[in-house]
């Protein structure tokens, strides 16, 4: 009962050669050398549900995907530079979670807008003004406390947003959010633990932690500023402002730190990251992110 050759559709399987030509006694020696299974939404039903506008959904996925991609890139900059090996591994793991979310979200964006662009098209071939991430994720890492402060703000807010999005009418976005909320909960826990340790440590560590918070706090507001496309897609980050601020204030109080009293970073004629208006930090980050893909277009290994 195992001769199914009549049903074979070899054209469907561009990876067939790879799958059959695997080296090694068990044939499982291709690790990290490409499997042909490149689509992060492989075989997932990607039809748009009725009532969901493809362009608006794509815009939302692009915003969330760009946030995750750019922060992942910042986090991996800590490799070889973290204070301890354990923290380097931790930060790289957090970056890996975000990168995974970015792959799914960018893939969904390219499907939903009908352009058929892949995750790679979107990550490597857009220009700075086409990125829709908030400015919080693009500013440089600063010192460890600064990076922890940014992570605390982002993870607390994104965890809350993913929680809301896990009930979104688009099943793909809802599934990515449902998975992400558990991952972001770990990120928030990690950032909280370090905020407490540094804030409630020595006067010096506390001052550094406070300085990190003061530096990133003006960028927090953008996470709660709804974009029209988000509102049309049924996503309103503004409702998260109060609960997220409450949660952050509780952490800072416990750590003996002060909630910074600083105004939000100004936008440019009302436009900020969600509109493609970024700080000067994004360009160099993208140059590093994109240089290899652009030097060898379409290269695989």
């Amino acid at each position: 009962m195992q001769d199914h050759s009549t049903q074979a559709d070899v054209d469907d399987h561009v990876y067939l050669g790879l799958a059959e030509a695997a080296p090694g006694p068990e044939g499982e020696g291709r690790w990290a050398y490409g499997t042909g299974f490149a689509d992060p939404l492989l075989g997932v039903d990607t039809a748009l549900p009725p009532g969901v506008d493809g362009a608006d959904l794509a815009a939302c996925c692009l915003m969330l995907g760009d946030d995750a991609l750019v922060l992942a890139q910042r986090l991996i900059e800590w490799c070889t530079r973290a204070p301890e090996l354990e923290e380097e591994v931790a930060l790289a793991n957090l970056g890996l979670d975000l990168l995974g979310q970015a792959r799914l979200l960018l893939t969904r964006a390219g499907q939903a807008d009908g352009s058929g662009r892949t995750e790679d098209d979107l990550a490597y071939w857009r220009e700075e003004h086409e990125f829709r991430n908030v400015r919080l994720v693009e500013v440089p890492n600063g010192d460890f406390a600064h990076s922890i402060a940014r992570l605390l703000l982002f993870a607390t807010a994104r965890c809350a947003l993913y929680e809301a999005l896990s009930a979104h009418p688009d099943p793909v976005l809802a599934a990515v959010a449902a998975r992400g909320v558990k991952e972001l909960a770990y990120h928030r826990e990690y950032a909280t633990a370090w905020t407490l340790r540094l804030g409630d440590g020595t006067p010096y560590s506390s001052a550094r932690m406070q300085a990190g918070l003061d530096a990133v706090w003006p960028l927090l507001d953008e996470l709660f500023t709804a974009h029209p496309a988000e509102l049309r897609a049924g996503v309103d980050p503004a409702v998260l402002r109060e609960p997220v601020l409450r949660s952050l204030s509780a952490v800072l109080a416990e750590a003996g730190l002060t909630v910074p009293d600083v105004p939000p970073l100004a936008s440019v004629l009302g436009r900020a990251g969600r509109d493609g208006v970024h700080t000067e930090a994004l360009g160099p980050l993208l140059a590093e992110l994109q240089v290899l893909a652009r030097a060898h277009p379409g290269a695989t290994w």
């Binding site: 299974f37 931790a90 099943p171 928030r188 633990a193």
Partner: protein, 174 residues
């Protein structure tokens, strides 16, 4: 013909279920709860996988391995698909999977319900020894502590036993 379909599906399931996990090779994809479903329709086989973490770098490898093993077993029309909903949880790791993890010196995850019942500890610093104990997979001692929440793969944390002094890895509940 219902029984024939069930038998066919069972045979295909057995093939896909035997594929080892690329990062925890002591477990099969079925032990890990990643193999969600196998369907046989006429001559076509479709296997559904539920990835563990969003960024798990082993997903493509798993898909390729399932595809290759099914083809090697004689199936020609093979499809591997991902199923994202419901999300994977460590609760899906089978009893057999937990036994194999412990045998390999990796502490298996506790039920997520037990962890939730112990309560989140967002505002207490350094709960390196948790309320719900994590027994040492080597000596069975209960006096263990967390060294790092993150380990060699996204799904594991690094722990240490204070009785036998050995470090060990632990699969985190998610």
């Amino acid at each position: 013909m219902v029984s024939a379909t069930v038998a066919e599906r069972g045979a295909a399931w057995e093939v896909a279920a035997a594929v080892p996990d690329p990062e925890l090779p002591m477990l099969t994809l079925a032990d890990l709860g990643v193999l969600a479903e196998v369907e046989v329709d006429g001559g076509a086989v479709t296997a559904w996988l539920t990835p563990t973490y969003s960024g798990c770098p082993a997903v493509a490898e798993m898909a390729a391995d399932v595809d290759r093993r099914l083809r090697a077993a004689g199936y020609r029309d093979v499809r591997v698909r991902l199923r994202l909903d419901p999300p994977w949880s460590t609760d899906l790791i089978t009893a057999e999977g937990r036994r194999k993890l412990a045998e390999a010196g990796i502490a298996p995850p506790r039920p997520t319900s037990a962890v939730a019942a112990a309560g989140p500890v967002p505002l207490a610093l350094g709960p390196t020894r948790t309320a719900a104990p994590v027994p040492c997979p080597r000596c069975g001692g209960a006096d263990t502590e967390e060294l790092s929440r993150f380990g060699s793969t996204a799904c594991k944390a690094l722990w240490r036993c204070r009785a036998c002094r050995e470090p060990f890895e632990r699969v985190k509940e998610i």
